[in-house]
Symmetry: C2
């Protein structure tokens, strides 16, 4: 990526992060009677995080000719689902992590009961936000977005993948089984973010949505392969969590199955395929193209 591309991408990332933080901040300043719950929800969601999923949603909205504002609710909803999953993943009964984004995890900063409730409340809030009225989008589109988010967040998506991941500890998975697990655990929400961004724009055509879906499939898997690579080569200060924490738990990874070099080659190839899927889009899809390169070059 050239320096000017990097700079344009950085501007875009920052703009998207500000937008989604503002939307989340508004949503988390509402009539929540329990002050402890509100504080912990804000702790879990605000001030940190790469916001990759919101950025993808915004990028898709631009790609199909929409404006950034069109994707505000989709971006916030998908980030809320992601945030809730992190809070629950970190619990002692799950991954038992003390650090997240360099800060104590929610159950460490508050307590376990609060962390459970925070995750539950963030999930509800995601569905509240994505179903909220916005004059420019018809009820049918918004309803389709609720349906997609619920499918990709739950047992047929992210949570299903997390359960497969638990079932796999200590098991020998082959590459197809590993792909199925990741396709649900991480890929489902990444794909969902890309699609929701497009669906946020009434004007998106069927062929545009088909191209976005192909982009989404490849970027979703690339993201997870890169996560596995970072788990091996990253260090704790960059990752915000102890390096090697997945491989320590005897979980199968792309690196353990393919070796580091082949895993890197796979990530790059998936990124290239994602970019190729966008060939019929004009320059409006440049942020998505740059994001595909960014995903496999990121350090954390």
């Amino acid at each position: 990526m050239s320096t000017s591309n990097t700079s344009a991408l950085n501007d875009f990332l920052q703009q998207c992060q500000q937008r989604v933080d503002e939307r989340l901040g508004t949503a988390l300043d509402a009539e929540i009677a329990s002050t402890q719950l509100l504080e912990a929800m804000r702790y879990a969601c605000l001030g940190g995080g790469k916001r990759i999923r919101p950025v993808l949603a915004y990028g898709s909205a631009l790609a199909v000719g929409g404006e950034l504002a069109a994707a505000d609710n989709a971006a916030a909803a998908i980030e809320l689902i992601h945030s809730y999953s992190l809070v629950h993943d970190d619990l002692p009964a799950m991954d038992d992590d003390d650090l997240r984004r360099g800060k104590p995890t929610v159950h460490k900063a508050f307590d376990e009961a609060t962390a459970i409730l925070v995750g539950d409340a963030l999930q509800s809030l995601a569905f509240q936000i994505i179903s909220t009225d916005r004059d420019t989008l018809c009820a049918n589109n918004r309803l389709a977005m609720v349906q997609l988010l619920s499918q990709k967040a739950g047992a047929t998506g992210m949570v299903g993948g997390q359960s497969l991941d638990f079932e796999a500890v200590g098991e020998k998975l082959n590459i197809q089984q590993l792909e199925q697990m990741h396709s649900l655990k991480t890929g489902a929400l990444i794909r969902c973010a890309v699609l929701l961004g497009g669906m946020s724009c009434e004007s998106a055509s069927d062929s545009q949505m088909t191209a976005l879906a192909a982009y989404a499939d490849n970027i979703g898997l690339a993201f997870q392969v890169q996560d596995d690579i970072l788990d091996v080569i990253g260090d704790t200060s960059q990752l915000g969590k102890p390096q090697g924490s997945d491989s320590d738990k005897n979980k199968p990874t792309y690196v353990s199955l393919l070796g580091l070099d082949e895993a890197k080659a796979l990530a790059n190839s998936l990124s290239d395929k994602a970019i190729a899927a966008l060939q019929e889009f004009p320059g409006s899809a440049d942020p998505l193209r740059e994001l595909a390169a960014f995903v496999v070059s990121r350090f954390h």
Copy 2:
């Protein structure tokens, strides 16, 4: 209540329980790749439970002149939210209960990680079902139902009330604070069930919905007062959980604040008010009327 009314109510309860069990069974037989997750979700939701919230939704649909089938998705969605909240409530970090409906709780029958994921997946499934296409209901109504369910399930509803409940352990609440907590923790979902049943029927008028809302407010509170009464006078085999388990934890209850007799009088008065709110409805609201009496006469 006369014997014939009791018999009619029993028939209605059974019919509603069968309908919602069938809808839940279909939803929990879908493309869920993790067999352990699917099994645990079915364990948490099927085969047991009074299905009071679904029954209220069905009763409301009938009251406004709709058919039972109209409320199938609303009934299933609200029961999924209720079921997920029980699974998470029972966790060691929350109420730490080993028994639920006379069976081992989900984290006892499976494990804690599974119980956390089951709750998360059931919540997503609720939003999936309530947003699902049904030819007879317009997208605007379904979207309004998603909005209501998300508000009443999350931090501004049930989860917010649970958090207030935790904050209240060992504290001296007055009756207003206790009402606020219960109004969110238990009342929000009960009210939501009544309203969703009405909203499931395109034909429901504004005045019908206003009457249902008044019914819902009173029945919601009556339900919680009766829960507190049962916690004192019930026994373990009837409740399916150890008697006195709430008062043991030094949580304030209506009985501890008002005494047993006054709590019983309050429950009956609320039930009467709920029935009075239905005065403009014809005989189609008889199931709701009988349910109002049933709620304060139930033994578990």
